[in-house]
């Protein structure tokens, strides 16, 4: 999230970033690999799916994640450059095997 301070004319804009906290869900083999079924991830401002994934990759066990896993935001499939909001639920989806 991005905040702008009140500016006087002639001032350069000053931006105050804060770290966004995103909830990440893990399932099946991915939950097993990372030893948990959910994570709270700190990411920079205006995060995208790829940023969330990069942060998850820093965790122990994350080497088992493929280069581009399926990801959902709020129960819908998303793309790597889709933006992630602070209240969004990001799910990393192992290869599905239903039916």
């Amino acid at each position: 999230m991005l905040f702008r301070a009140q500016l006087r004319p002639g001032d350069r804009p000053v931006e105050f970033f804060h770290m966004a906290t995103v909830r990440v869900l893990l399932f099946a083999s991915y939950a097993e690999a990372l030893g948990t079924s959910s994570l709270e991830i700190e990411v920079g401002a205006e995060p995208r799916v790829r940023d969330v994934l990069a942060s998850v990759r820093a965790r122990a066990g994350a080497t088992q994640l493929p280069p581009s896993p399926l990801v959902a935001i709020n129960e819908r499939y998303a793309r790597l450059d889709d933006p992630v909001g602070e209240r969004d639920e990001v799910a990393i989806i192992p290869p599905v095997a239903g039916g």
Partner: protein, 145 residues
């Protein structure tokens, strides 16, 4: 149209009754069941798990797509999760329509899309005690039904 994730055994007769209408001339039922061999390994059960909220949502999306594409409002889909033994039904898809082609095409569409999109996973229990997550993308052709 109704979709559900269930823990208890799927009641196929109830599903058939649910899609039955006086204007139906054809009803198709597809059942996925747990089988004893996968990839040449002896299987004695499968644990199904899901991202439940999203799985329900995707099932509903798929059923609505089938309804729009084939004109089949009378569709019921149930997917079971939890531990299933051999011959247990993991998924049941019932569709009725005045004519047979839409009923058959819709059921086929639903199962094909479920296999591609619905966030459900299975961990096979093998007779030798091993357990493995099934990954259909790994080129295990036999994983596909």
């Amino acid at each position: 149209m109704r979709v559900a994730l269930v823990q208890a055994p799927i009641d196929v007769s109830a599903m058939l009754a649910e899609v039955s209408t006086a204007s139906s001339g054809a009803t198709t039922l597809f059942l996925g069941t747990v089988r004893d061999v996968n990839d040449a390994r002896a299987v004695d059960g499968i644990e199904y798990s899901a991202y439940e909220a999203m799985a329900r949502r995707e099932l509903e999306t798929i059923a609505r797509e089938a309804e729009a594409q084939f004109g089949t409002p009378h569709i019921v889909v149930e997917h079971r999760i939890g531990f299933l033994a051999l011959t247990d039904i993991s998924i049941a898809i019932a569709v009725s329509h005045a004519r047979r082609s839409p009923a058959m095409d819709a059921a086929r569409y639903v199962i094909e899309e479920v296999k591609k999109r619905v966030p459900i996973w299975k961990r096979e229990h093998y007779a030798d005690g091993a357990r493995e997550w099934v990954d259909p993308t790994r080129g295990h052709a036999e994983v596909r039904r």
